[in-house]
Symmetry: C2
Subunit: 211 residues, 2 copies
């Protein structure tokens, strides 16, 4: 196959055209489509056209939170690395990942739990409303569920896209019962790359805000 001659700045546009063409006459709510399209762009996996589900007004409420400058908390440094730092500047959103923190590792060991679990406790200790972007650890989602139910956390959005084979589907189902904004990738699939691309798809929607 010959290489296609294309300018670097046109690659994303061309990719989006191909994705739109392959989605055919399927339609999506207009505020959800940029998220779905970007996840397919990130994974080349059209399963996400079916897997991604959104709470009522989830995208609008998430954008509102980001406009208020709430921080994003991830469950992997990889997810943190994948969020576009320029796109965070407009509303001064910060990104935190506590997974590598020594106190988180110590607490997880003491309590016989996962670092992801302990890192959600550390996020709660920030005392701030946050967007949570969970692409790896179902235990992070389970802990978010518990902390929210107890009134300790008020998540402005939960992105629930951990990947895997053990307790992943169960954790996602739990998030989908919650009365907070959520975006969930049903089934086993997901990943830190998916979590980051959902964050980016939301942040890019703020680009044209007058500000």
């Amino acid at each position: 196959m010959e290489l296609e001659q294309i300018l670097p700045e046109d690659i994303e546009k061309r990719s989006f055209e191909i994705i739109a063409r392959e989605l055919g006459d399927r339609t999506f709510p207009p505020e959800q489509f940029p998220v779905i399209r970007r996840v397919i762009h990130t994974t080349a996996d059209f399963d996400y056209a079916d897997n991604l589900v959104f709470s009522d007004n989830g995208v609008y409420l998430a954008l509102e939170a980001l406009r208020e400058g709430v921080p994003i908390v991830t469950d992997t440094n990889m997810g943190k690395a994948g969020i576009n730092k320029n796109a965070l500047k407009k509303y001064k959103n910060e990104v935190y990942c506590f997974m590598s923190d020594p106190d988180v590792a110590r607490k997880a060991k003491e309590e016989g739990t996962t670092r992801a679990w302990a890192s959600m406790d550390k996020a709660a200790a920030l005392g701030r409303d946050c967007v949570f972007a969970i692409g790896n650890a179902p235990t992070a989602l389970i802990r978010l569920y518990e902390l929210t139910m107890r009134g300790i956390l008020n998540p402005r959005l939960i992105i629930g896209v951990p990947v895997g084979f053990v307790n992943v589907i169960q954790a996602k189902e739990r998030i989908m019962t919650m009365d907070v904004p959520w975006i969930v990738g049903k089934g086993r699939k997901g990943g830190s790359n998916v979590a980051a691309s959902i964050c980016n798809a939301l942040l890019y929607q703020l680009k044209d805000d007058e500000k």
Copy 2:
């Protein structure tokens, strides 16, 4: 669905059992299987059982290179973040990503190319043999091909798993013609997470070396 009660340290083992079960009676070369299994573990996508292809002795030659302490060069900071830092310690392998370097951005702009392309030139300037883990940019693979053909680079392994819709398949096909060790994910799929998980699967195979 009820949550499965499982100790954190048993989750990976249980996941691997599920993957093995679902692969049924398919068999893989023993040195390739840990790579294929880990990529499926990372993505929950069994397509990789078919997509991942290896040059002759690719895994053995890659392990040899890693044992010599060659560095790993990635095309995203996300890929770099996903490589297990503890697993790098045994043979003191370093990981480089030049994508965010100002000189790379400047050179890409001047030459009308991509930062990924320019970052491979910067890797060549290290003057060292490297393992390349490319999970994002087909232009990085195309540049690696050119630099190797001109004798400027001697890659000890090319992991070619960029994801996407434009020139991705072509770039991977080019790598598969090369006379250096390679591991390629055929088709459109791949990603920084896949590139990192292939690195980790190789590094974990060195764990039991007597050293």
